[in-house]
Symmetry: C2
DNA sequence: CGGTAACTGAAAACCTTTTTCAATACCAGT
DNA sequence: ACTGGTATTGAAAAAGGTTTTCAGTTACCG
């Protein structure tokens, strides 16, 4: 609920509206423990708001990314997916089996970036970091 | 030339062939200082081998990635591009303006991965790390 | 409430990537 | 060199995924 009002305020500040379709999309991504593709989000959000169109899903996802509430993940299989973001500068550790995503912020790449700046002369302003592994629950399942 | 023979040997071991179209694609990616999209690679490689088909470009790129000679980059604008790889475990620092790509290997994420393993219980096996910035030459150009 | 700007959804357009299949090129063995 | 067999090729078509268009609708502010 806190999220909802926060988003509502945020939208109003930019002369934008909190509509039912947007609520449906937002809700699906926020509730999910895992990353979801636009098609998956469409399917799930449709249950909540049946007349939803796929177009709106894409538009809403762009909007939410821009607002910083969700984040786009680039994965090798079926890139692109989306996950909710709690922190401002969040990275994700994703389970290759079930898609569950854990967020972390302490990426501490400063030493690396400093040495690369010195070595290459680049200005470095963005970095993307994603880890992929297997979550405990999927590991246990596989043992059997 | 060294690359070429290395690849030739590598292909033969797997009962695969080093054909003209493949040479053309390989050559384009290897020579480029920057990352290139499949369409760009197609255009450039066509100059060398005019009857080249786009299909073959895709197939060859997959093959070269699998063999480890090139690498796929995931960039926010127009993901996917490809770059040549020198080292086995290489990451890239890419210029947002000209696309030039610098490779580096010393990513030292072990401390982070160790702490995440402890915190989340995940097995972590892959990580993707890409840095984006502005190369010295593009920075100078912009100053004017 | 009512006016207005923002938003929506269906359809079409677009772009990228993959599949299909008959023709071709490479390479090993002679 | 030549040749047979298999991997590879390229055009066309199919398949995906994403964006654009536009007339109708909805949320929000006064």
């Amino acid at each position: 609920m806190t999220d909802s009002t926060l988003i509502h305020t945020n939208l109003r500040q930019n002369h934008r509206k909190l509509t039912r379709p947007r609520q449906a999309v937002l809700d699906v991504v926020m509730r999910a423990q895992r990353h979801l593709t636009p098609a998956e989000i469409y399917q799930k959000a449709k249950k909540r708001h049946p007349r939803l169109g796929l177009t709106t899903v894409y538009r809403t996802l762009d909007l939410l990314v821009e607002m910083g509430f969700i984040q786009r993940l680039h994965l090798d299989e079926g890139c692109h997916s989306y996950v909710a973001t709690q922190q401002a500068h969040g990275h994700h550790l994703v389970c290759a089996d079930c898609g569950r995503a854990e967020e972390f912020a302490d990426c501490d790449l400063e030493p690396l970036m400093k040495s690369l700046r010195a070595k290459t002369g680049y200005d470095i302003d963005v970095h993307m970091l994603e880890l992929v592994g297997h979550c405990p629950s999927c590991r246990h399942k596989q043992k059997r």
